[in-house]
Amino acid sequence: MDYIDPHIHMVSRTTDDYATLARMGCVAMSEPAFWAGFDRGSVDGFRDYFHQLTDVEPKRAAQYGIQHFTWLCINAKEAENVSLSRDVIAMIPEFIDRPNVLGIGEIGLNKNTKNEATVFLEHLDLAVKYQQQILIHTPHLEDKYQGTRMILDMLCDDQRIDPTRVLVDHVEEHTISEVLDRGFWAGMTLYPVTKCTPERAADMIEQVGGERLLVNSAGDWGPSKPTAVPDLIFEMRRRGHSETLIRKVVYDNPIAFFSQSQNFSFKPRT
């Protein structure tokens, strides 16, 4: 089955991973800007990173027939440095018109601090100013519930934000309903250690249905499995779910969400 991975960090994957993903049916992917495993020291570090996201990775992906899209921001972990964050936010417009840019992301909270919230709000201003879609990172482990509620508070407080153009990622059993009930799209991240398994993701799909729900692998520099989305496809088939529902979650929904961005020039396989 053709599928789209809506949240995968290919800068930290090998070219062999591109080959494997292509063989598993991955036809497109979106790569949010994130933490690189270390704190970058300057705005030029981010400029180089955005060059990689908007120029290098699309070419690497294209060699395997995969269409690559991206999102720009300074992630929540490095947002603790407010002055660097402001410099990066001011620089993002240099890249915003690149053909594979879908919006601002993944922005959010990490340890739910005041600095993170300040930088999050300034990213929202940027997204509104440039009419960009937004991709949200919610914190992990014990910080997730609190942080997700805080993020939803900030999004819902801002009348300029259209929830149907916002994807809230890394939802789990205790956060998924609130995200969907408030009209946002929700993404489940299949991550071997801290997040959710294909089995639990399938459970959540059974409980909330497939509306406005996406599933991704995160596939980053930490312990992660870039082929996690095919694992979910396999688990749903094993349980007897229809191909229509499976395709909705791994293919139709990402297309529907991304299509709200004018740069989403996806061409389905013929």
Partner: protein, 86 residues
């Protein structure tokens, strides 16, 4: 779609193995512990959380996973924006 009995039978060995992992881990902690005073406050809280989690597993309902997640979560406070001055 699978019925309850099929799900139970299909996952029985896996659930048995996961429960054994938890049991053996608790045994390992107990063997290493010596006397209960070994634990720092943080570790004591963690050990209590594990017991509370097991309590949730023993309860009924179809929202055990959600309740377990909340047990392991920091609390959300409505007034956080005032505290941050936002």
């Amino acid at each position: 779609m699978q019925n309850a009995e099929e799900i139970l039978d299909g996952t029985f060995l896996e659930v048995r193995a996961k429960l054994l992992e938890v049991a053996a881990t608790l045994d390992r902690i107990e063997r290493a512990q010596g006397d209960a005073g070994d634990f720092s406050d943080l570790s004591k809280k963690r050990r209590e959380k594990v017991d509370q989690a097991i309590g949730i597993l023993l309860s009924s309902g179809s929202d055990r996973a959600e309740r377990l997640q909340k047990l392991f979560s920091r609390e959300y406070e409505d007034a956080w924006r005032n505290d941050f001055g936002i």
